[in-house]
Amino acid sequence: MAATASNVCVSLDGQRQVLSNASLSIQKGTLHMLLGPNACGKSTLLRVLGGLLKPDSGTFSVPSSIGYVFQNPDHQVVMPTVAADVAFGLGRQKLPAAEVHRRVLEALRLVGMEDCLERACHTLSGGQKQRVAIAGALVQNPQVLLLDELTTFLEAGDQAAVLTAVRAAVDGPQRVTALWVTHRFEELTRADAASFMDGGRVQMTGTPQNVLRRMHRMKGR
């Protein structure tokens, strides 16, 4: 398994229970989608796995190298130009310029943005910014990518481009594992596996078709 969470509980301000015994296992080299209605705890579970939130109880295990991409790319793309922003993630590693250039180019090629190296970030569209944010995470060679509702603000075209970029990263030579949080059913068609969350816990996990079928059955009752 690339990442696991077991009986994770999180409460906000010690009162509202956001996660109650949430458990999840993600297989290596897959695009795993985590679905659920608003405020069911998807993003909170992602934050726990990303090390941004400490759980009240429960255990989780993730590789040492993880990449996190946030919902709003405007928060994540911090440098004024694309190349500098993608290279920002390598800031703590003292690398020669040629190596940085190679890795930046490789990451941007994976998301189909290799022609935008010099573009100013504020001139990019929402989808392009999101892909730059993904490249910024990929440049660090992560084993697991945690993706938090990337397509919320995007139009249909940009949404497809971002999905394709993540799919390319998963299918690429690095065999990255991606956990994609979403509440859009149509995105399930590109996933390898899916889980459905509700009420702060993971209700079911399986193939996208199985999860969809069971959800419709639940809805029909």
């Binding site: 800031g91 003292k94 010099e118 603000f153």
Partner: protein, 382 residues
């Protein structure tokens, strides 16, 4: 088959919208808000709320404001608040003189430190240089602008700057000596002392070049006007050229190199540089946040005149509070993203620049020669 759990995904504007909704509800109860006109297209409202306004939609946003105004009837004229909202909505979220990567020009391949030194030298020397040198510098800057920027950028830029400099030239030219200081000379006039008056100048030189009524143009006022106008032009246009031909991170890092001696005095140079970089990046975000708030207000079609000045001011104050609240929230999200990307502190983090293009020695030598020439002429005229 395919469906969504929730129809409203617009969490981005929800932050701004929550307070505005309660505010509008309160105003509605007080009868201060006009009902939305039936003629206003419903699709526009939905579209504007479900999508984030982008840089290229100022006309559409202005249309919304005009629609809101039209809903209040023909008799209602534009209030100051409406004018302020129009200004925000028609403005661009793109900062002035942003970096332009393409087409590449001579200046793109000059080292950023040399460009910054050029700016300082121009500011320090052009003001005291002879008129011929000032005019030459302005001409070179104009030619450089035309050769560097595409016409759609340099034409409006030079027009605006030309207008500003012309206004400065005229005002200083007329104003510098037209209002003489009311001073009483302590020496007796020549008629009283019995000494002959000074002989009139036989040459072509005249101190007063033009005099009509209260308007006087002298040699001094003309020199001062030329210096002011040319210095304004050179300072603004050189800075604009530097910004448009240098990526922001390279400008910031060049500044860091120039400021590095200050480290010995305890100045946190790296932190200052990173702050500058983040400020340059998030300037557009602040502008967009302001536009989002203005859009939210414009969409409600508030009748400012009916509200009165006190209530209008109250709304503005609350909106400014909301703006800062949203910006702080965004700052927090940015800080979290920086942390997730491995940022610990400015001192331990390297900002990589110059990944694509290195400056060319030939271009650097040409620019250094120009700086040396400017400095030399300044010493000659000291």
């Amino acid at each position: 088959m395919l469906q969504r759990f929730h129809k409203h995904h617009c969490t981005h504007n929800a932050i701004a919208g929550t307070d505005q909704t309660s505010l509008a509800n309160a105003r509605w109860k007080q009868g201060l808000l006009q009902p939305k006109p039936a003629t206003r297209p419903h699709t526009h409202q939905r579209c504007a709320r479900s999508r984030r306004p982008t840089v290229g939609r100022p006309r559409a946003l202005l249309g919304l404001l005009q629609a809101g105004r039209a809903g209040r009837g023909k008799g209602s004229s534009e209030s100051i608040e409406d004018k302020v909202l129009s200004t925000f909505l028609s403005g661009s979220a793109t900062p002035y003189s942003s970096y332009i990567a393409d087409p590449r020009s001579f200046l793109h391949d000059v080292h950023p430190i040399i460009k910054q030194v050029w700016l300082v030298v121009v500011l320090g020397t052009a003001g005291r240089a002879p008129a011929a040198v000032q005019a030459s510098l302005c001409l070179v800057t104009v030619l450089q602008t035309i050769s560097t920027l595409p016409p759609r950028l340099w034409q409006p830029q030079l027009k605006r700057l030309g207008l500003l400099c012309t206004v400065i030239l005229l005002f200083v030219c007329i104003g510098a000596d037209s209002v003489p200081p009311k001073l009483q000379t302590r020496a007796p006039p020549p008629q009283v002392s019995g000494l002959p008056s000074l002989a009139a100048s036989k040459g072509a030189y005249k101190h007063v070049l033009f005099h009509w009524g209260i308007f006087t143009i002298t040699q001094r006022s003309l020199t001062l006007a030329c210096s002011s106008a040319s210095l304004t032009f050179l300072a603004l246009q050189s800075a604009s050229l530097t910004l448009t031909t240098t990526p922001s991170e390279e400008i910031a890092l060049a500044l860091q190199s120039l400021m590095s001696p200050l480290r010995f005095l305890g100045v946190p140079v790296k932190q200052v540089t990173l702050s500058v970089l983040l400020a340059l990046r998030f300037m557009a975000l602040v502008l967009e946040e302001m536009r989002n708030l203005a859009l939210g207000l414009a969409m409600r079609g508030v009748d400012w005149k009916a509200m009165g000045p006190g209530s209008g001011l109250n709304v503005i104050v609350r909106l400014v509070g909301r703006l800062f609240s949203n910006l702080f929230r965004q700052s927090e999200a940015v800080a979290q993203a920086l942390h997730a990307r491995g940022f610990v502190s400015a001192d331990e983090h390297t900002i990589y620049t110059g990944l694509l293009h290195k400056s060319r020695p030939f271009n650097n030598v040409i620019c250094c020669s120009a700086i040396a020439g400017l400095l030399a002429q300044a010493f000659v005229h000291l």
